[in-house]
Symmetry: C2
Subunit: 344 residues, 2 copies
DNA sequence: TTCTGGCACTCGGGAGACCCGAGTGCCAAG
DNA sequence: CTTGGCACTCGGGTCTCCCGAGTGCCAGAA
């Protein structure tokens, strides 16, 4: 008993796989008879019952009540996902549809909006897409534009195609030469650098200017830093909440905390933040830190324009979900979004 | 019978008011006995029953089944809202809380985000805020910035504080003098004008430039027009979907279409679009065009920085809602948002 | 050993039967 | 016009009963 991990033989694994598949399909506890009927396991129900007893002993499946069929536990799903399931690739028409749908996007926000809707539609679950985070992206260009004597517009362009702008109220009038000088120096130091590192690189910049100009320079820099900080607050878009209504019987109890979680961007961000940098992450039931999501699973993956993943996307659904299909859809969508980003 | 509109006497109206109030409070059909107990109408239950029969005859209330209490119909709520309800003003502490919460906003998007969450919290329903529409706002400034020989950044600033930018790939290198010239002419014609009118005003602009420069000018203008058009696509933010779970018994049937409606920005936009320009609009039950919202009411109002309303906000909840309170909250929030916008 | 058929047992949940009580409509008297 | 009285209705909670899917165990077969 203590610490002893028994090896499950192949047939027991096959039984577990069958249980998961049937349960996901029917949403009803599955019994030994039904199993042998629907999968040709080559053994009798009695044998399956013995295997089931063993699986239950090990905590992979569970009986709602005596004289009912079995349903997989979180641990059972975990084993299924880790060992028994093949990610189901999208069919060619599906891939074409994804491609086509995403190709219509006009700008970054539109890509994200389309992605999230697409994912919700494909998986028939709740889809979440985190925007490309600025913290990993780099400065492509900083532009300064005089709008009025003491008003300057600051524009930050990143390599991910994001453009952010701010109006700066300067302490005094700003000459065009000063502006040009500042712009040149800013870009010389910041261009190509990662956003979070920029403030450090610009620290002694004011010292290079004449004393009279320093307040202006400092003001502009302060606004720039603010923009950098604010924008690395990551944003989230979601879709498919209506799919929650298909959850089933214990409905109101389940949906309430989920909806609440979905409204808390912080929760969602943390959820996606736990995604491994490489490969797909599947968090099943109680593996999710947030307890409102204890009966849901989260399938998430990083995506990005190059090899590097700059942001995450994923799907939230009941633990009783079609893992192979969902994982296939998530992976495919992430891949195509990456391609789109790389092209633009 | 035919076409004859009977005048309801004061007591019948009082009975209707009491029915609405009680039903909103208890969510249960209200009977004659309970009514006289909770409101001192000065008459006996039997009398109330007669009045109820009359009200039912006129279609203001309705009996789920014989031997049950009455519940208001859409028509009943309509009469209640039009004639019987006073908008309930927010209390001083509430007003202070609203003010305080909104004052923390850092930019326009933040104002909208805070507003929608605040409204959801105050009303405990689903809140919807439409962004200040660009179609009514005017051009404050158009800026052109050369980023690379053939790359120009176009920035549009509106009087509502919105800033939109686009990168323009020009057919050839763009000189600084051309850019300055174009910028000056653009602003001379467009500044202060309403966005939808701008394209018309700039029509013959290319003709004023030398033939060699015209392709560039046209390209820039095309992008500008595109930005104007795209951005008058109005955007929407919503919050409080978790409040839908408090809807009650016939739950899954009700919530599904509502969630679907909420995901369709088009539906929401149309919904808010039906808001009257002045004053508050209340659409009750089947008065809503979209049939998924047949058992919900929408309370909406325009808001804006000046007298003019530039956008709409509102609340979606069950027909059985607290109209005076909801209307009070919606009005108060709209007013404060307007003030915030006016200040910035 | 491992599998299989047989068998007694369990128990969730659906189908009826039943009853309570809130609420009604109507009527006759005040 | 209002009121108290009264017979009637019927939704929905409770209780019981029963069915059948599913189980665990055991003894015999492979």
């Amino acid at each position: 008993m203590a610490g002893e991990v028994r090896q499950l033989d192949d047939r027991k694994l096959a039984v577990l796989r069958a249980i998961v598949q049937d349960y996901v399909g029917t949403e009803e506890p599955v019994g030994s008879k039904a199993l042998v009927d629907r999968h040709n396991l080559g053994v009798s129900p009695a044998t399956v019952r013995n295997d089931m007893a063993a699986l239950e002993e090990e905590g992979y499946i569970h009986q709602p009540h005596t004289s009912a069929g079995r349903i997989p536990t979180d641990k059972g799903y975990r084993l299924f996902v880790d060992k028994l399931a093949e990610v189901k690739p999208m069919s060619a028409p599906e891939r074409r549809a994804i491609r086509h749908f995403l190709d219509g996007a006009v700008d970054l926000d539109d890509v994200v909006a389309r992605t999230v809707r697409l994912l919700a539609q494909l998986t028939r679950q709740v889809a979440v897409v985190q925007y490309p985070s600025l913290s990993r992206s780099t400065v492509r260009h900083v532009e300064l534009v005089a709008l009025a004597p003491a008003k300057v517009m600051l524009v930050l362009i990143t390599n991910t195609g994001r453009v952010e702008q701010r109006l700066v109220d300067c302490p005094g009038a700003v000459g065009e030469t000063l502006l040009a000088d500042l712009r040149a120096r800013l870009n010389a130091r910041a261009a190509g650098q990662r956003l979070p590192e920029v403030p450090g690189l610009l620290e002694e910049l004011p010292a290079l200017f004449e004393a009279a100009d320093r307040p202006t320079v400092s003001t502009v820099l302060a606004t720039l830093f603010e923009t950098l900080a604010e924008q690395s607050e990551e944003r989230i878009m979601l879709a498919g909440t209506a799919n929650l209504t298909r959850l089933g019987h214990d409905f109101p109890l389940t949906i309430q905390p989920v909806l609440e979680a979905l409204e808390e961007q912080v929760v969602l961000l943390r959820l996606l933040g736990e995604t491994a940098d490489a490969g797909m992450t599947v968090r099943i039931g109680r593996e999710n830190a947030y307890e409102g999501l204890n009966s849901t699973s989260v399938v998430s993956v990083g995506y990005g324009s190059g090899d590097e993943s700059v942001a995450k996307l994923g799907v939230i659904g009941p633990t009783r979900m079609d893992y192979p299909g969902t994982m296939g859809a998530v992976r495919a969508v992430a891949r195509y979004v990456g391609q789109i980003l790389a092209e633009s």
